[in-house]
């Protein structure tokens, strides 16, 4: 017989209540995971697409709320490349094409774009300039069962599938990459256009001061563009995500508070119900500290077990949410850092929810409690 046996048996005495509380907490945590997971995935996708690729500055069309609507003359990248601090200025075009029952992002990259060095070709090779060739993101290739050597029809034109790639960016895992000029040729509105230009500086200039000065210099030179340091660009994009960070955080916070109050209420009810037994434990020699230890462990046991189930449920639900979206831009990416944050929040919630019940116990008089309950 240990504290653990006591806790498990004590919980098992109230199976239905435990099941309902467990379910309530699990659904609450799942809601937090979905809400925070959506914004986390989007923020993470932008981070991987830009920061991890050594892109220091991003230029796109001014006054465009959504980056995918941006159109910039492709020749601007040549002019930006002329800045002495710039190592690479490469244009990127993104378009969406219908594929089966949803839309698929297609990236147009310049043949010599350094972006090709940031993806891993797992089958075949990269597309050649001037040819209608396409490489497939590995998630898309697996889901669509398309393979190297097949043809893929994009906006009425047959493209040869020449490779499959793996990318760190969830934007690109379920997408296609074609030569820039091939994508521009598919639609009149994209002629000589790119969505934006990614700029990487020479190593000596890659510090905040130089980047900020250069952004100002470039903005003066190209007033028709919005030019931002990458971290600012990512922060702005995250704000525009499907559910703004603030809304997601607010909903998650409210849900967490509801979980805390629900658990505290369950524990209080349980204490009042077995007050006589608690009195007995105090009379036969349990110290208030022992009871507090058990109660806290019981609260943590309940919230952590339900929290783990809720997290699993949340990951599954996030996956479902992304699957039901018409545009397959993103696949959920809930990293270990995110899950640790969720676990810590759940752990903290367990401690907070035990505070009021702990306070009630600490005030109990053993003999009065055992006599009168």
């Amino acid at each position: 017989m240990t504290f653990l046996t006591f806790i498990v048996k004590d919980i098992a005495r109230r199976k239905i209540r435990f099941a309902l509380t467990f379910l309530g907490i699990a659904i609450g945590v799942a809601t937090c995971v979905v809400m925070l997971g959506l914004s986390e995935t989007i923020r993470d996708a932008f981070k991987n697409a830009y920061l991890k690729r050594d892109i220091d500055i991003v230029a796109f069309q001014k006054d465009q709320i959504y980056i995918f609507s941006s159109k910039v003359d492709a020749s601007v990248s040549v002019q930006l490349q002329a800045f002495p601090e710039v190592r690479d200025a490469t244009g990127v075009l993104v378009d969406f094409v219908g594929y089966q029952d949803h839309y698929l992002p297609v990236y147009g990259w310049e043949f010599d774009s350094p972006l090709f060095k940031k993806i891993l070709i797992t089958q075949g090779r990269i597309p050649e300039a001037g040819k209608n060739e396409v490489i497939l993101g590995d998630v898309f290739a697996a889901n669509a069962r398309e393979k190297v050597g097949d043809k893929l029809n994009i906006k009425g034109i047959d493209f040869d599938i020449v490779g499959v790639y793996n990318s760190e960016s969830t934007f690109e895992k379920s997408a296609l990459i074609v030569p820039l000029e091939a994508l521009q040729a598919l639609d009149e509105k994209n002629k000589n256009a790119v969505m934006g230009i990614n700029i990487t500086l020479k190593d000596a200039y890659r510090n905040k001061g130089v980047i900020d000065n250069l952004v100002q210099k470039m903005t003066r030179r190209f007033p028709e563009l919005t030019i931002q340091p990458t971290d600012l660009f990512i922060a702005d994009r995250a704000k525009q995500s499907l559910l703004g960070d603030k809304l997601a955080n607010l909903v998650a916070l409210i849900t967490l508070i509801a979980v805390i109050l629900g658990l505290a209420n369950t524990m209080l009810t349980s204490i009042f119900e077995k007050k006589k037994l608690i009195g007995l434990l105090l009379v036969i020699g349990w110290q208030t500290g022992d009871l507090l230890k058990v109660l806290l462990a019981e609260s943590l046991f309940m919230i952590i077990s339900a929290g783990l189930a809720g997290t699993a449920l949340g990951i599954y639900a996030t996956d479902l949410v992304f699957k039901t979206m018409d545009v397959t831009i993103l696949i959920p990416s809930l990293g270990s850092g995110f899950l640790i944050k969720i676990f810590l929040a759940v752990f903290l919630a367990g401690i907070i929810s035990a505070i009021i019940p702990l306070w009630v116990i600490s005030k109990l008089n053993p003999i009065e409690t055992v006599k009168n309950g």
Binding site: F3, I284, G285, Q287, T288, D290
Partner: protein
């Protein structure tokens, strides 16, 4: 247990308890000395102060005046009374107060859970004691399914597991039929004889008093008789 020497295990000096709500003197200047190995019965009518005396000796009620000494330690000086109870006192209640849905063995071990680690020695000792009092076949049985006599025997095993200096029994036969009452008293007598356990038992049943070596009568909070 095993207080063979004649120094008092329990001593009260002018022990007085006045409950502030009613101003009643539940204990009125009680001076008492109980030697190690004594089996003492405290008798008195309902409301005479018997249970208050027991609870005061256990440190569950603070006296208004006077002193309580247990095994040479002044109770008022003991800061952690819960720990003191766990180490030095065994309780037997009229209503058993067993933890529902727990097994017999778990209930006996309940006061002594100290951590998340399992104490095998204590568990073995509990099995031995339960076997000695005829509960060996019911170790894993849920206490909800026990008869009242078996519940009280479980309660006795819980009270003596840690070899307490003092066993306090509050109307231990109050809820038992005569057969189980006799069995319970014989077990208590055997514990007292074999282990020199000091037992203070509160009762108003004249038959029960025959098992005690000494009877103290309390009326209106005062000791009115003390006979051997």
């Amino acid at each position: 247990m095993g207080n063979e020497n004649s120094s008092p295990v329990v001593r009260t000096v002018n022990l007085t308890k006045v409950f502030p709500q009613s101003s009643v003197r539940a204990l009125d200047d009680i001076n008492l000395a109980v030697t190690g190995g004594d089996f003492v019965c405290i008798k008195g009518p309902s409301g005479s102060g018997k249970s208050t005396l027991l609870n005061t000796l256990a440190g569950l009620i603070d006296p208004t005046d006077g002193e309580v000494w247990i095994q040479g330690r002044r109770l008022q000086d003991i800061r952690n009374k819960a720990l003191f109870r766990r180490q030095s006192i065994g309780f037997i209640f009229q209503d058993f107060y067993l933890y529902p849905d727990f097994t017999v063995l778990e209930n006996v071990l309940l006061p002594f859970i100290r951590s998340f680690a399992f104490d095998g020695k204590l568990s073995d000792k509990a099995r031995r004691i339960l076997t000695d009092i005829g509960m060996g076949g019911k170790l894993r049985q849920n206490v909800n399914t026990l008869s009242t006599g078996e519940r009280q025997r479980t309660c006795i095993a819980r009270a003596i597991l840690h070899d307490p200096a003092l066993i306090l029994a509050d109307e231990p036969t109050g809820n038992l039929d005569s057969k189980n009452a006799v069995l319970t008293l014989e077990i208590l007598k055997k514990i007292n004889t074999d282990h020199q356990a000091t037992i203070l038992m509160v009762t108003h049943d004249e038959q029960v008093m025959h098992y005690a070596g000494r009877v103290i009568a309390i009326v209106d909070g005062k000791t009115t008789a003390d006979s051997v």
